[in-house]
Protein backbone atom coordinates (compact mmCIF):
# COMPACT_ATOMS: atom_id res chain seq x y z
CA UNK A 1 0.00 0.00 0.00
CA UNK A 2 1.07 3.57 -0.65
CA UNK A 3 1.95 4.95 2.76
CA UNK A 4 2.62 8.53 1.84
CA UNK A 5 1.03 10.81 -0.74
CA UNK A 6 4.38 12.57 -1.09
CA UNK A 7 5.89 9.35 -2.35
CA UNK A 8 3.30 9.26 -5.12
CA UNK A 9 4.03 12.89 -6.05
CA UNK A 10 7.73 12.04 -6.27
CA UNK A 11 6.93 9.03 -8.44
CA UNK A 12 4.89 11.21 -10.79
CA UNK A 13 7.72 13.73 -11.00
CA UNK A 14 10.09 10.93 -11.95
CA UNK A 15 7.72 9.75 -14.68
CA UNK A 16 7.46 13.33 -15.91
CA UNK A 17 11.28 13.59 -16.18
CA UNK A 18 11.48 10.33 -18.16
CA UNK A 19 8.60 11.39 -20.38
CA UNK A 20 9.99 14.84 -21.16
CA UNK A 21 13.42 13.45 -22.01
CA UNK A 22 11.86 10.76 -24.20
CA UNK A 23 9.73 13.34 -25.99
CA UNK A 24 12.79 15.50 -26.65
CA UNK A 25 14.74 12.55 -28.09
CA UNK A 26 11.75 11.56 -30.20
CA UNK A 27 11.57 15.04 -31.73
CA UNK A 28 15.30 14.87 -32.50
CA UNK A 29 14.93 11.40 -34.07
CA UNK A 30 11.97 12.50 -36.19
CA UNK A 31 14.13 15.28 -37.64
CA UNK A 32 16.85 12.74 -38.52
CA UNK A 33 14.42 11.07 -40.95
CA UNK A 34 16.18 7.77 -40.26
CA UNK A 35 14.66 4.84 -42.16
CA UNK A 36 15.98 2.07 -39.85
CA UNK A 37 17.99 0.34 -42.60
CA UNK A 38 21.41 -1.07 -41.78
CA UNK A 39 22.98 0.98 -44.58
CA UNK A 40 21.65 4.26 -43.19
CA UNK A 41 22.53 3.25 -39.63
CA UNK A 42 26.20 2.88 -40.61
CA UNK A 43 26.12 6.41 -42.03
CA UNK A 44 24.77 8.02 -38.84
CA UNK A 45 27.07 10.22 -36.80
CA UNK A 46 28.07 9.07 -33.33
CA UNK A 47 25.97 11.84 -31.76
CA UNK A 48 22.90 10.59 -33.66
CA UNK A 49 23.53 6.99 -32.57
CA UNK A 50 23.90 8.26 -29.01
CA UNK A 51 20.43 9.84 -29.18
CA UNK A 52 18.95 6.56 -30.43
CA UNK A 53 20.60 4.81 -27.50
CA UNK A 54 19.39 7.44 -25.06
CA UNK A 55 15.87 7.09 -26.44
CA UNK A 56 15.91 3.33 -25.88
CA UNK A 57 17.22 3.72 -22.33
CA UNK A 58 14.48 6.23 -21.44
CA UNK A 59 11.83 4.13 -23.14
CA UNK A 60 12.90 1.10 -21.09
CA UNK A 61 13.15 3.09 -17.84
CA UNK A 62 9.74 4.65 -18.33
CA UNK A 63 8.14 1.31 -19.10
CA UNK A 64 9.84 -0.36 -16.14
CA UNK A 65 8.88 2.36 -13.71
CA UNK A 66 5.25 2.40 -14.78
CA UNK A 67 5.03 -1.37 -14.30
CA UNK A 68 7.10 -1.58 -11.14
CA UNK A 69 5.76 1.40 -9.18
CA UNK A 70 3.13 3.59 -10.77
CA UNK A 71 0.38 1.09 -11.51
CA UNK A 72 0.34 -0.07 -7.89
CA UNK A 73 0.40 3.51 -6.63
CA UNK A 74 -2.58 4.45 -8.82
CA UNK A 75 -4.63 1.63 -7.33
CA UNK A 76 -3.47 2.57 -3.83
CA UNK A 77 -4.44 6.21 -4.21
CA UNK A 78 -7.85 5.17 -5.58
CA UNK A 79 -8.32 2.74 -2.68
CA UNK A 80 -8.60 -0.22 -5.05
CA UNK A 81 -7.36 -3.33 -3.30
CA UNK A 82 -5.20 -6.01 -4.87
CA UNK A 83 -3.05 -8.80 -3.56
CA UNK A 84 -1.20 -10.10 -6.59
CA UNK A 85 0.70 -8.76 -9.58
CA UNK A 86 -1.87 -10.27 -11.95
CA UNK A 87 -4.58 -8.27 -10.20
CA UNK A 88 -2.60 -5.04 -10.54
CA UNK A 89 -2.40 -5.49 -14.28
CA UNK A 90 -5.98 -6.59 -14.79
CA UNK A 91 -7.27 -3.72 -12.63
CA UNK A 92 -5.12 -1.22 -14.50
CA UNK A 93 -6.51 -2.61 -17.74
CA UNK A 94 -10.04 -2.26 -16.33
CA UNK A 95 -9.28 1.41 -15.63
CA UNK A 96 -8.37 1.66 -19.34
CA UNK A 97 -4.83 2.82 -18.65
CA UNK A 98 -3.20 0.01 -20.63
CA UNK A 99 -4.24 -3.06 -22.57
CA UNK A 100 -2.64 -6.12 -20.98
CA UNK A 101 -1.67 -7.65 -24.35
CA UNK A 102 -0.05 -4.44 -25.53
CA UNK A 103 1.74 -4.03 -22.21
CA UNK A 104 3.20 -7.54 -22.46
CA UNK A 105 4.23 -6.87 -26.07
CA UNK A 106 6.08 -3.73 -24.96
CA UNK A 107 7.68 -5.64 -22.11
CA UNK A 108 8.86 -8.40 -24.44
CA UNK A 109 10.56 -5.91 -26.74
CA UNK A 110 11.97 -4.06 -23.76
CA UNK A 111 13.50 -7.32 -22.47
CA UNK A 112 15.15 -7.93 -25.81
CA UNK A 113 16.88 -4.55 -25.49
CA UNK A 114 18.23 -5.78 -22.19
CA UNK A 115 20.48 -8.25 -23.99
CA UNK A 116 22.78 -5.44 -24.97
CA UNK A 117 22.78 -4.80 -28.67
CA UNK A 118 21.57 -8.00 -30.25
CA UNK A 119 24.32 -9.49 -32.38
CA UNK A 120 22.09 -9.09 -35.33
CA UNK A 121 21.86 -5.42 -36.28
CA UNK A 122 18.66 -6.04 -38.21
CA UNK A 123 16.92 -7.29 -35.02
CA UNK A 124 18.27 -4.33 -33.07
CA UNK A 125 16.95 -1.90 -35.67
CA UNK A 126 13.56 -3.64 -35.73
CA UNK A 127 13.32 -3.28 -31.94
CA UNK A 128 14.41 0.34 -32.18
CA UNK A 129 11.74 1.00 -34.81
CA UNK A 130 9.14 -0.70 -32.63
CA UNK A 131 10.05 1.50 -29.65
CA UNK A 132 9.94 4.65 -31.76
CA UNK A 133 6.65 3.65 -33.43
CA UNK A 134 5.21 3.03 -29.97
CA UNK A 135 6.15 6.42 -28.57
CA UNK A 136 2.51 7.50 -28.89
CA UNK A 137 1.26 4.47 -26.99
CA UNK A 138 3.66 5.01 -24.09
CA UNK A 139 3.02 8.73 -24.18
CA UNK A 140 -0.76 8.16 -24.03
CA UNK A 141 -0.26 5.77 -21.12
CA UNK A 142 1.64 8.48 -19.24
CA UNK A 143 -1.12 11.00 -20.01
CA UNK A 144 -3.76 8.56 -18.71
CA UNK A 145 -1.72 8.06 -15.53
CA UNK A 146 -1.68 11.81 -14.93
CA UNK A 147 -5.41 12.14 -15.74
CA UNK A 148 -6.17 9.34 -13.29
CA UNK A 149 -3.96 10.96 -10.63
CA UNK A 150 -5.72 14.29 -11.12
CA UNK A 151 -8.95 12.71 -9.89
CA UNK A 152 -7.14 12.28 -6.57
CA UNK A 153 -5.79 15.82 -6.39
CA UNK A 154 -2.40 15.16 -7.95
CA UNK A 155 -2.04 18.23 -10.12
CA UNK A 156 1.41 17.84 -11.62
CA UNK A 157 1.20 18.99 -15.23
CA UNK A 158 2.84 17.31 -18.18
CA UNK A 159 4.41 19.56 -20.76
Amino acid sequence: MLKNKNIFSKQLKKIKRHYEALKEYKEFIDKMKFDFTQEKFQLLEISQKAVLDAYLKRFASLQDYLGAKIFRSLLDIAGITYTKMSEVLTLIEKEEIVSLDKWIELRNVRNELEHDYPEDLEDALNDLKYCIDNFDYLSNTVKKVFEFARKYNENIKLS
Binding site: M85, S86, L89, T90, L100, I104, N108, N111, E119
Partner: protein, 95 residues
Protein backbone atom coordinates in the same frame (compact mmCIF):
# COMPACT_ATOMS: atom_id res chain seq x y z
CA UNK B 1 17.86 -30.10 -16.11
CA UNK B 2 16.98 -27.69 -13.33
CA UNK B 3 13.25 -27.04 -13.52
CA UNK B 4 10.47 -28.19 -11.20
CA UNK B 5 7.68 -30.38 -12.55
CA UNK B 6 5.27 -27.63 -11.60
CA UNK B 7 7.00 -25.02 -13.78
CA UNK B 8 7.61 -27.49 -16.57
CA UNK B 9 3.88 -28.25 -16.76
CA UNK B 10 2.98 -24.57 -16.69
CA UNK B 11 5.47 -23.77 -19.48
CA UNK B 12 4.01 -26.61 -21.56
CA UNK B 13 0.46 -25.43 -20.94
CA UNK B 14 1.34 -21.82 -21.78
CA UNK B 15 3.18 -22.88 -24.92
CA UNK B 16 0.32 -25.10 -26.14
CA UNK B 17 -2.04 -22.22 -25.61
CA UNK B 18 0.25 -19.78 -27.43
CA UNK B 19 2.08 -21.77 -30.10
CA UNK B 20 -0.09 -24.86 -30.52
CA UNK B 21 1.72 -28.18 -30.95
CA UNK B 22 5.48 -27.59 -30.76
CA UNK B 23 8.63 -28.65 -28.94
CA UNK B 24 10.10 -26.53 -26.19
CA UNK B 25 13.82 -26.91 -25.62
CA UNK B 26 15.40 -25.78 -22.39
CA UNK B 27 19.02 -24.78 -22.93
CA UNK B 28 21.78 -22.70 -21.34
CA UNK B 29 22.56 -22.68 -17.64
CA UNK B 30 19.32 -24.43 -16.63
CA UNK B 31 20.53 -27.72 -18.08
CA UNK B 32 23.71 -27.57 -16.01
CA UNK B 33 22.93 -29.32 -12.72
CA UNK B 34 26.03 -27.88 -11.05
CA UNK B 35 24.72 -24.31 -11.34
CA UNK B 36 22.14 -22.46 -9.30
CA UNK B 37 19.36 -20.07 -10.34
CA UNK B 38 19.59 -18.32 -13.69
CA UNK B 39 17.24 -17.39 -16.51
CA UNK B 40 15.15 -19.94 -18.33
CA UNK B 41 16.45 -20.03 -21.90
CA UNK B 42 13.80 -21.72 -23.98
CA UNK B 43 13.66 -22.33 -27.71
CA UNK B 44 10.39 -22.95 -29.53
CA UNK B 45 10.71 -25.47 -32.34
CA UNK B 46 7.97 -24.75 -34.80
CA UNK B 47 7.84 -23.25 -38.27
CA UNK B 48 6.38 -19.78 -38.01
CA UNK B 49 7.20 -16.22 -39.02
CA UNK B 50 8.78 -13.75 -36.63
CA UNK B 51 5.54 -11.80 -36.58
CA UNK B 52 3.52 -14.89 -35.63
CA UNK B 53 6.13 -15.71 -33.00
CA UNK B 54 5.93 -12.25 -31.44
CA UNK B 55 2.15 -12.45 -31.20
CA UNK B 56 2.26 -15.94 -29.72
CA UNK B 57 4.97 -14.84 -27.28
CA UNK B 58 2.55 -12.25 -25.85
CA UNK B 59 0.00 -15.04 -25.29
CA UNK B 60 2.66 -17.24 -23.65
CA UNK B 61 3.70 -14.55 -21.16
CA UNK B 62 0.10 -13.52 -20.54
CA UNK B 63 -0.69 -17.06 -19.36
CA UNK B 64 2.25 -16.90 -16.95
CA UNK B 65 1.53 -13.38 -15.70
CA UNK B 66 -2.10 -14.23 -14.99
CA UNK B 67 -0.74 -17.05 -12.84
CA UNK B 68 1.51 -14.51 -11.07
CA UNK B 69 4.63 -16.01 -12.56
CA UNK B 70 6.90 -13.18 -13.59
CA UNK B 71 9.98 -15.23 -14.37
CA UNK B 72 13.18 -14.40 -16.22
CA UNK B 73 12.48 -16.32 -19.42
CA UNK B 74 14.29 -15.78 -22.68
CA UNK B 75 12.11 -17.28 -25.37
CA UNK B 76 13.59 -17.69 -28.85
CA UNK B 77 12.35 -19.15 -32.10
CA UNK B 78 14.67 -21.98 -33.13
CA UNK B 79 14.20 -21.59 -36.87
CA UNK B 80 15.24 -17.92 -36.75
CA UNK B 81 18.22 -18.36 -34.41
CA UNK B 82 21.73 -17.81 -35.76
CA UNK B 83 24.08 -20.79 -36.08
CA UNK B 84 25.90 -20.11 -32.81
CA UNK B 85 22.64 -19.98 -30.88
CA UNK B 86 21.36 -23.10 -32.67
CA UNK B 87 24.49 -24.97 -31.49
CA UNK B 88 23.67 -23.95 -27.90
CA UNK B 89 20.02 -24.94 -28.28
CA UNK B 90 21.01 -28.32 -29.73
CA UNK B 91 22.78 -29.09 -26.43
CA UNK B 92 19.50 -28.52 -24.60
CA UNK B 93 16.75 -30.86 -23.53
CA UNK B 94 13.13 -31.11 -24.66
CA UNK B 95 10.66 -30.11 -21.97
Amino acid sequence: MRISNYLRNIFLEASKNAFGECNLILFGSRIDDSKKGGDFDIAVKKEMSIEEFKKAKVKFFKTLILKDLDLPIDLVLYSKANNLLKQEINKGEIL
